[in-house]
């Protein structure tokens, strides 16, 4: 059991999402940085889709009410277990009564706390993710607050006893286009791409888009030079998925993410590839995004690269565990 002592922003229970419910209008929810959640689960010996806690704002304080192995992944943070500082992408064991403090997120936007055995809230429609719009899943379908108690599942039989860390994905999944001043997201053209003329398209690809404060788990609203279609496009609402980039009449793109509605009517200029959604999840408010054009095959290859990284982590951790 974990007891939340202090929570200062939208912190939720998330797993890899509620898949297969789109036809009922139920969005996926799920971790914004799925790579961090999966890696955290691997560090704990869990299955990759166990539920963890997505921390969006520090400070956060919680107490472990029993001995618990846990890991912190995602962004970097000034975090302490008792008075001992913790390293990022690291797993340790908390003793009964130990307090974890996440003081400040110093890199990226989201920190994930995963525990051996997973956060054991009841699954709803096949997932433990918090569905904020429908107010179900997670803990009572809402963000966490001080005083909440979260159950922890039975730890995996072959528990890892040693403390260790893993390399964050930015090293293994580094890309030549990466630069300090902007997060680069690969994008495939979507349904209405050809309704934008060459000038509008080139503006879309060349602009350093600012992530506005009106960005959250529902969508990221961006700010930059307006990108407008040749003539206004009116479409009926149609199915959209996390990653879709819509252009509303203002010409300022909106990237729909994990808590987005399952349908929308704005024209879609592109879709952030699945393998880069974690990079979007770690983009801070006020930071810049750039879009890089990718083909469908490149998108699949990028997904393979993420899977290869996860496979390498799983194999190395399994071998280390056997020592």
């Amino acid at each position: 059991m974990i007891e939340l002592l202090a929570v200062s922003g939208p912190t939720t229970v998330q797993d890899l999402g509620r898949l297969g419910q789109y036809r009922f209008g139920v969005g996926t929810a799920g971790a914004m940085d799925d790579v961090a959640l999966r890696a955290g689960n691997l560090l704990n010996g869990n299955s990759e889709d166990a539920a963890g806690i997505e921390i969006a704002i520090a400070p956060l304080r919680l107490r472990f009410l029993a001995e618990t192995q846990f890991a912190l992944t995602g962004g970097d943070a000034e975090a302490l277990l008792g008075d001992r500082p913790l390293l990022p992408w690291w797993r340790v064991t908390a003793r009964t009564g130990d307090v974890l403090t996440v003081r400040r997120i110093t890199r990226g936007a989201l920190v994930y706390l995963t525990v051996a055995g997973g956060i054991d809230v009841p699954p709803v429609l096949g997932s433990r993710s918090t569905q904020l719009r429908g107010e179900f899943g997670g803990l009572e379908g809402r963000v966490l607050r001080a005083g909440d108690r979260l159950p922890v599942g039975a730890p995996p039989a072959r528990a890892i006893l040693l403390d260790f860390g893993i390399e964050p994905p930015e090293f293994a999944l580094a890309r030549p286009l990466d630069r300090a001043e902007a997060t680069v997201l690969r994008v495939v053209a979507a349904g209405e791409y050809h309704a934008f003329d060459m000038a509008a398209r080139s503006l879309f690809w060349s602009t350093a888009w600012k992530v506005t404060p009106q960005s959250n788990r529902y969508g990221y609203r961006l700010e930059g030079s307006p990108v407008l279609p040749r003539e206004p496009i009116e479409k009926r609402s149609h199915g959209i998925v996390p990653g879709v980039i819509q252009i509303p009449p203002s010409g300022q793109p909106i990237i729909q993410v994990r808590d987005a509605q399952t349908s929308g009517g704005y024209p879609k200029i592109g879709t952030v590839i699945e393998a880069d959604l974690w990079r979007l999840g770690q983009a801070r408010l006020g930071s810049s995004l750039r879009f890089a054009e990718a083909s469908y095959d490149e998108a699949l290859a990028a997904r393979d690269a993420v899977e290869a990284y996860m496979g390498r982590l799983a194999a190395t951790i399994a071998r280390y565990r056997e020592y």
Partner: protein
């Protein structure tokens, strides 16, 4: 037959744990011989109990528990994990050994003051290599 540093290290650790002194592997494209020197056993880093009344300062060595690349700081952090003069508590992390995507901590075997960092960042170090010297 292609061995990575991590494979060789896994073998070396398994040998040490099971008391095997020597392993020879012959293959089409090479041969590998591993010898575990009893003197390299890390048991030596357990501080010996001081005789009653002894007041002398004892040097304590923090040693690598695995072979790999020595890192003095986490790649996301600029500050080193151990600096000369720093007070550390038993089991505090004083360095990292990178093996593939894994970071394995080198920990202080006892409370003390860091007297010297002995390993060069970025270099390959072996199982049992002293990484930091502490003064009690």
């Amino acid at each position: 037959m292609a061995f990575t540093v991590a494979d060789i290290d896994a073998l070396a650790v398994a040998m040490e744990r099971r008391g095997i002194g020597r392993v020879e592997i012959d293959g089409a494209d090479g041969a590998l011989t591993l010898v575990v020197e009893p003197a390299a056993a890390p048991k030596a880093d357990l501080p010996k109990p001081l005789p009653a009344g002894a007041a002398q300062e004892t040097a304590i060595l923090a040693r690598a528990s695995i072979a790999g690349r020595f890192l003095s700081a986490h790649p996301w952090r600029s500050e080193p994990l151990a600096t000369v003069g720093q007070a550390v508590a038993k089991s505090d992390i004083v360095g990292l050994v990178q093996v593939g995507p894994l970071y394995v901590p080198v920990t202080a075997p006892a409370d003390g003051i860091v007297e010297a960092v002995l390993a060069e960042p970025g270099t390959l170090i072996g199982y049992g290599t002293p990484v930091a010297r502490l003064r009690s």
